[in-house]
Amino acid sequence: MEHITLLLGIVIVTALVFDFTNGFHDTANAMATTISTGALRPKTAVAMSATLNLVGAFLSVEVAKTISGGIINEQGIRVEVIFAALVGAILWNLLTWLLGLPSSSSHALFGGLIGAAVASAGWSAVNGSTVVTKVLIPAVAAPIVAGLASMLATRLSYAVSSHTDEKAASKGYRAGQIASAGLVSLAHGTNDAQKTMGIITLALVTGGVLAPGSNPPTWVIVSAGMAIALGTYLGGWRIIHTLGKGLTDLAPQQGFAAQTSAATAILASSHIGFSLSTTQVCSGAVLGAGMGRKGGVVRWSTATRMFAAWGLTLPAAGLVGAGAELLTRQGTWGTVVTGVLLIAGSTVIWALSRRKPVTSDNIHEIEPESAGVVTAAVAAVTPPPAGPVATADAPVDATADLKTTIPSPDAGTSAEPNRAATV
């Protein structure tokens, strides 16, 4: 450990921060429907998910051998490139969290890696066909697979139980839902915590601290597990709200069908070997459950914004990653500036989020967006509340150019579902 340079230290910390945002962002996948149907209380749900994520991090010994799965050429990758990629991924994760949109953390990381690798070594560093097979096709397939399964399961379930007492049955569905949510959490811990361990290990190998091919040291496993669990426990309540209530209204029976379909699709995909993104599987399952019930309403305006965010994840994280790589290339001061910009950007996003906070306490009270057009119009007229936006004072200029590289999914982003929050 005595050979860890400043740059390597920064990369390790950044990787852990990414791991944290990953847990934070993806709590919704496992727990959004569980919370919205009342199967578990919000705090209990995130605590359970965090524990299972932590357990999952220690369960698997199969460490991600490559961090990108062949999307970029990792031979001769420099530590700076990894750092730049992480900056892109973290900022995109935070921005989509601010907008309450579930988007794939893995895709954000891939995007950052692609951008940084291209800026560093040109387009030849990227394996285009792998991008199509590992990112684009799964992104389209995941919501269809999980959505169709969840829709048919919901239909069947309602058909079978048409003559039963709904209240008594709800208890059963809630219990079942907890089990499938647990599976999703566990699978998430084994996959995504491993990813961060892979990144840190790769950085350590690149920096010459570890011999190539080594397994991650224990402190890497422990810290990655802790970071993802902490992020999960703090909970990305905005995304939980969108997935649990914003897309559609879920009854316990639908929540159970959605969660079971998500767990099945995730396990089937990782076992058969066509990996699908957890986030997209879960969002698709929720949409499917919404469509499966007679009279179920899917809020397509919210769904469309989510789809837009999926499409933008790769290019947006890539642009930030490329920008960060160009900066870090300038030498030590560039790396420091990138770090400062990352912190400043995160602070701005956090400050913006305080204007209309979504927490475990008000998650059930915030009304989902009813009609996209109307809310957008109202939001356009309503002056934004004077909040602690001014916290973003000092590095405003610097962050401005960083923020412009992140296109927001659409103009109506101010019409967030949680607009009405007053707690």
């Binding site: 097979t133 399964a149 399961a153 059963g172 599976l183 058969i272």
Partner: protein
Amino acid sequence: MKIDWAALGSVFGVSLVVTVALVGLFTLGVVGLTKKESAEGGTAALAVTGAYACFAACAAAVAYGIYLIVA
């Protein structure tokens, strides 16, 4: 560029069949348990037994899921 359509197809098929089967089984179990209160005697016992059989099958599926994650 080689797209593994076979793997994608299997994921699709397996997810669909397993999800529908599990949710169907679980729903049958829930229905069986709620029937218990309205039925009497032999029917009730049968409904409860059937319900627990359904839940056992679901529990087995969860156990297999954990096995897949750990392995």
